[in-house]
Symmetry: C2
Subunit: 198 residues, 2 copies
Amino acid sequence: MAQAAEITRSPRREEMVRAAARLFSERGYHGTSMQHLADALGLQRGSLYAHIGSKQELLFDVVEEGADRFLERGQKAVEMQALAAVRLRRLLVGHVETAIEHLDAATVFLNEWRYLSPGLAAVVQEKRDRYEGMVRQIVEDGIKEKEFRADVNVRFAARLVLSAGNWTYAWFRPGGEMGATEIGERFAELLIKGLEPS
Amino acid sequence: MAQAAEITRSPRREEMVRAAARLFSERGYHGTSMQHLADALGLQRGSLYAHIGSKQELLFDVVEEGADRFLERGQKAVEMQALAAVRLRRLLVGHVETAIEHLDAATVFLNEWRYLSPGLAAVVQEKRDRYEGMVRQIVEDGIKEKEFRADVNVRFAARLVLSAGNWTYAWFRPGGEMGATEIGERFAELLIKGLEPS
DNA sequence: TCGACCCTAACGACCGTTCGTTTTTCGACC
DNA sequence: GGTCGAAAAACGAACGGTCGTTAGGGTCGA
């Protein structure tokens, strides 16, 4: 009975999380049934529970995985020894690249995380706050170093940056005219220009 | 038996659409049951069907209502006799104002429209395309009149503008430090600056 | 022989929708 | 102004189906 549940590391389980990411991103959490998931894996509904504890746990795994990827990339950008504009560009490019390379997990992270139970949602909320904090840090540095205008509202600018990046997944289609990196760089170019003094 | 269904205009029905907008925005389409909706209206589940044809029809009404509001405001901005930058600002401010004034419908329009059946989704898709076309039109005019840089990718810039505006609902909370109009104007300021020549 | 893996069956609950019946509403008529 | 009748609105039981989850038993490779 639910003999796994804790040992998050089994190849079969990883496979399930991956399948769940795809299905949740396509049909939404509530629109995906355990039957859908079982079908995608060629199993019976009940057999899934040898590897996972619950559907909710599966959602958490997908969301957390998505969050961690953004955090990892963001951390690298923050730690750079470079102008704020350069760091901001790096973060934005990394953000868009991450969102597109792992489109499924990123979509679930952004759209479905609100269906987590309060306890699990808090864990994710903390990661979201931390990520937003990274962007704010860079913008603040830019203002302090007079790279950016003094009258930009830090929290507001950070949200603009994230807003732009977060909507990417909604219209990005692989094989389109632009790749992830180019999209990120163009975003960065326009946004940074808006932040700089005239 | 389903005596209404066509006469979309009855006060009780409007009330249901409004309640559905709130519930769908909070819990998602698939996360909202007819029982939830009935509870919110103080009715029994089955009684809803005297006023509506199906849950799907309700979703369509909410989504279309949201789409029409954006289109209406956008049209006004496009028709202005003014510089492209002014029209773009007007559109963005109107966009954010609309999203915030009708937060529920806007959230459903942006998040849940993909759960519409293909036929109904096509109707909404056409409206989305039309709206994006308005933004593109303004940006194109701006380039032609040399208000904006010649090297901006029109489709891309339009999407950046919409991306920024569309994420608003995710973090906006009524009673915060900024009102809808101010948010829209600050968005516009930053974005237009990025589009203008150095 | 053991344990990992999956199947089958079943659980109680809830899903969206239908429909015949009952209650409420409200304008027309005495 | 009170009464009546029809239309509108709501009830409440039932429909077939699906939901997430549990549990026990079988299969098979190590």
